[in-house]
Subunit: 411 residues, 2 copies
């Protein structure tokens, strides 16, 4: 029976560096409404002041602040009421000394006015307004350009477009933005024992789980999936499938059958691609050791473990970061969201590799606990129960019950 | 100047109960590849055992465990090699006592075999196999149905279909699933001072920010958006727009201009819908007090604050939970993901209402800190900088620097 060897085992940190050496995809212009979750391909510079005029932030009266100095509850200042500024209207004339003009929240301050007195501290008496409290210059006003200035970098390149940021861009009229293209990802599953999920497997065979699982993961990471189906453990067929997926995509994921033979074919197929360079063959991580990463003509090709839970860990550790990196994400945004939790029991680990445990998270009296899901390797149901992946670093020999560790939240 | 009053102010908890009183939308059958992030509309029952046959979890030899009892490094047990089972193949005949058959990870155990000896502890010598370690029954084997049993509830109704769960379903051949329909959401912005984001606003006017911001939020929450554009502060026009959006959607969001007059129109327009019932008019939350929630013919209509950051808070507090609830999510999945963090400074609050502060999160020496973003009301740029929303509960009068609080993570 053939034994497997890995000729270029790398640490997780080393593979991560290789991931970062790929070039982000070219920029495309996208409608703002289709840009959520994407990353800016250029510094975004404000074309104008926001707001474009000084606005009231309260209902009340626009005034010259110094006209109100000395006003008190029992000794109000009396100003001349000089009309009203409705929402969306331009003031008809500048405010003269000794005048006040009625204004609603959001209304445009007239020239000469520099503050707004809240309606609560006023009373209209015919053509006059009593002001019972003084205001400082700028009080209850947003100045022109106070939010964002024309020419200012609103968001630097690499910023993820969240809901709140899309709001800011629409306020600036930036309804089309330059973001990086979404990566196209081809997915191949190999293994003679597999049948497509739609089919009923005859005895000895099982359904392909990796294609759908990886497809869902790629989609969540912003990629566009093409499934190349099941390729039998046959060298020529695999070569042709890999070659085709390589031509049609930016990234190719080949998840190997569990047999060593298939993995040999996978390595050979990847190596035969034009100018292929094997960046890693074996990663010091458990699970997920039999991982291959290669580059050919700037594209990334992964050989992933056949066991689906291992394939998914490697996906979150390397493939998802690569897909985000190709979309222009900043380095600190590549990993899954992380939090700290205490482990509910001792967890062994070996020095010299990163270990990941699938965990459930439970809060108990304000403390977050990570409970490892112990299942025998190969059971897929555990994959569905995990809230996160608990990491035991390379240099650690394990964790004691109650110790804190990083947990990466599964999307 | 008109003053505003709210005739049915409710607490956040009360409004949340009203949200839960809406009925989830009808189930639809969806392809697994399109079901990510959706919620199961029925208990999902496994049609079959998984795995459907007992499988090896290691490369090695399938044996009857009791034949190996007593085997040691220096006193191996000798078994007859009875061929090989390849991946995806059916064993040709049952395993007889005294026999071993070569098997690869994932291979189907022959009848009679109940364990696998790892290849490391064996040696083939012609037609014989030396076994140098005993195995217990079941060792290195996943039993038929050990992962999931036929007839078992795999995932109960309301389960969110994550990447891992989609994998499990594809393994069971459940490539179409019943999930709740996505809610259709109509968005209306009102206010004479607004122009569409594509246009350049004349003096005194500003761009509509709420439509795009709310649209992005609805999309993130799984809804399907229709924008009804900008409606001027004019009763008849608003009535017609609200009526049309109501007919064409499951949920209508009307974000009011900042003026009290517009909000009056909004309340009237909502009240005029068939069998309209005002569930809340005013919510004890800051920001976000001027919120309206109504039900008409089982549909939800929201009147949201005009200021976009307030509208977005109300969106995350009530609208997003409703959209998830309509899609069949369980109660514990309705809120944004939550974590605990210490505040970097004293934060005042008033008893009798929930206060929310936009915060940035920073980790410092293993402790998570929430730093409030203090910006004057009406500045939209703060919306883009927040990582989360820090909550000060109704009964609290505020937090001291260093105290822990709940922070809801913004998507």
């Amino acid at each position: 029976m053939p034994h497997e060897f890995f000729f270029q085992v790398k640490s997780v940190a080393e593979v991560t560096e290789e991931i970062l050496s790929f070039s982000p995809l070219e920029p495309v212009e996208e409608d703002l409404l289709r840009a959520r979750g994407r990353f800016l391909a250029e510094d975004l510079i404000s074309p104008e002041d926001l707001p474009s005029f000084s606005r009231a932030t309260m209902d009340g009266y626009a005034v010259r602040a110094k006209d109100t100095f000395g006003a008190r509850e029992n000794e109000p200042v009396i100003l001349n009421l000089a009309g009203e500024i409705l929402m969306g209207q331009t003031p008809e004339r500048p405010l003269q000394p000794g005048e006040a003009v009625r204004i609603a929240t959001g209304g445009m301050l007239p020239e000469g006015a520099d503050a707004v007195v809240m309606v609560e501290y006023t009373e209209e008496i015919g053509p006059l307004v009593e002001i019972r409290r003084p205001v400082a210059p700028g009080e209850n006003v947003i100045q022109k350009g106070e939010d964002i200035r024309a020419g200012e970098i609103v968001f630097p390149r690499g910023t993820r477009l969240t809901t709140g940021r899309l709001g800011v861009l629409s306020g600036l009229g930036l309804v089309r933005v330059k973001v990086h293209r979404r990566p196209r990802v081809g997915i191949i599953s190999t293994g003679d024992e597999l049948v497509p999920p739609e089919e009923s497997p005859p005895p000895g065979k099982i359904r392909d789980i990796n294609s759908y699982t990886l497809a869902a993961g790629v989609e969540e990471a912003g990629g566009e999936v093409t499934l190349y189906g099941l390729i039998p453990d046959e060298e020529e067929t695999l070569f042709r499938a890999v070659e085709r997926a390589f031509q049609e995509n930016d990234v190719v994921l080949i998840s190997g059958g569990s047999s060593v033979g298939t993995r040999d074919f996978t390595l050979k197929a990847i190596s035969s691609l034009p100018h292929a360079e094997i960046l890693a063959h074996g990663v010091a991580v458990r699970p997920g050791k039999p991982t291959i990463l290669a580059r050919a003509e700037g594209k990334a090709i992964f050989g992933l473990p056949g066991q689906v839970a291992s394939a998914l860990l490697v996906f979150y550790l390397f493939v998802r970061p690569l897909l985000l990196h190709l979309q222009g994400a900043r380095r600190e945004e590549l990993a899954l969201p992380r939090l700290r939790a205490r482990v509910t029991r001792n967890l062994p680990s070996a020095q010299g590799r990163e270990d990941y445990y699938r965990v459930r998270l439970r809060e108990k009296e304000g403390t977050l606990w990570a409970e490892p899901i112990f299942r025998r390797s190969g059971l897929i149901s555990s994959m569905a129960e995990a809230d996160g992946l608990l990491k035991i670093p390379e240099r650690s020999e394990g964790l004691y019950e109650g110790e804190e560790a990083d947990v990466y939240l599964l999307p």
